[in-house]
Symmetry: none
Subunit: 143 residues, 4 copies
């Protein structure tokens, strides 16, 4: 249900993980994940991205989909195109302060909060559920 790909850049291993049949389009999953990684400083400026072909093959998606995602990230100023065709994380894409990153998390949290109330769950309960989701996620990433 979920294809995860390890990307090794400069001795650091990060992950791309897509859910092929999610309602969220694949290119958007890629863009949003990369934006968060770069904003968090997990991919340093100058880091070289895998080629469109490699990434597409690894994720088993259409190269045009990958190309579109990278193009959007370039338009956002998060990636830069270097000579040849390889793309690198832009120089100006430095790690943002936590406050800015928190802002990027907001929409997901607001949606979850609205749903919790529609479901009649107490704030306490909702928070407990979120805590266990965070822990489950942490456990999954280390494994």
């Amino acid at each position: 249900m979920c294809i995860t790909v390890s990307i090794h850049v400069n001795e650091i291993t990060t992950l791309f993980s897509i859910v092929p049949r999610s309602a969220e389009p694949i290119y958007r999953q890629l863009v949003d994940q990369a934006r968060r990684r770069i904003t968090a400083g997990q991919w340093a400026p100058g880091t070289e991205m895998p080629s469109v072909r490699d990434l597409a093959q690894a994720l088993a998606v259409n190269p045009m989909t990958v190309s579109k995602a990278l193009g959007l990230l370039e338009a956002e100023g998060l990636l830069e195109r270097r000579r040849g065709l390889s793309m690198v994380v832009a120089q100006r894409a430095t790690a943002a302060p936590a406050a800015d990153r928190a802002e990027l998390l907001r929409p997901a949290l607001e949606r979850a909060a609205a749903q919790a109330h529609e479901l009649g769950l107490s704030d306490t309960r909702a928070l407990a559920l979120f805590r266990s989701a965070l822990q489950a996620r942490a456990h999954k990433e280390t494994s």
Copy 2:
């Protein structure tokens, strides 16, 4: 950016709220909200839904859009159709226990948890942000 409609049924006021140009289609917003309300028992079995035409006018959308949403809820067994009359919440749609409702909240929380980690935010910080999102939401609903 967001159209909210008060629906008064049996002296209870609940809300339908849609975001017209969201990526999420309108009919799906309606289905998901109604599913949560019904599962939470906020709309008791037998509760009469507003007519398709009324709801469509109130939300300023096409009647077919509303009809599609209600049709899907019927297929799910959450609404019942009474020929010649408006639809009602199904008898078998009793309030689910909190554990089941929690399950419905899970996907949203998992997505938020994954994003939090991608953004490099600590669990503590993510929880604090969620707490304030819940409070903001509560404040918004009472007003």
Copy 3:
């Protein structure tokens, strides 16, 4: 799932049986059943039908629905309106020969035959299934 009503006319007991939420409209279920009963001679000419009110109450449906069904049967010449408001089976509605009645069964059989083939069932198997359906029905009627 199925409301059955015994109608006692002239010492003969016949049945009206409707499935309230079937895709087939109620009035049509009534018309089709009555047509078959009359054509088969099970309700002799002159037999008095129950009043619209009684029938509607017994079947728990809207009187307009019953009225519409009886009206259609009258238009077909199978029922006649007598002084007062009671309706009776028409004098010219004599029992049809079996060949004519077979013709009325045809559409249902053709639909079943088409479905059997679409389901990849052999003719032998389909016939065996129909035989058991006939027997189950007979058993149900005598009980």
Copy 4:
């Protein structure tokens, strides 16, 4: 009275056949037929469906009508959607055993059995009529 369309998939020719002005809505005719074909294994998992536009043109109906039918089949888990490509028969839609397929034929047979009795036809006669309906159908399909 009846539009039949040959669909050639993987060297196999199957049929879609609709009755445009039947009481049964077109989209439902399509859903029911496809469900039977798939359940019978006549359309193997992975079989590619014609595109919505092609099918709509062939049947001379609106694309949305076809789309609605295919959407319902997807919700049932019988078809799978591949983004940007046409839909295919779902992998998990394997040929059901004859006993299960017989179950799908049951409603039609029960209706026919009830009608036969209401018409006062003997079981023997009803069976004979069904046999000839099956043969007539077979003859029609081969021609």
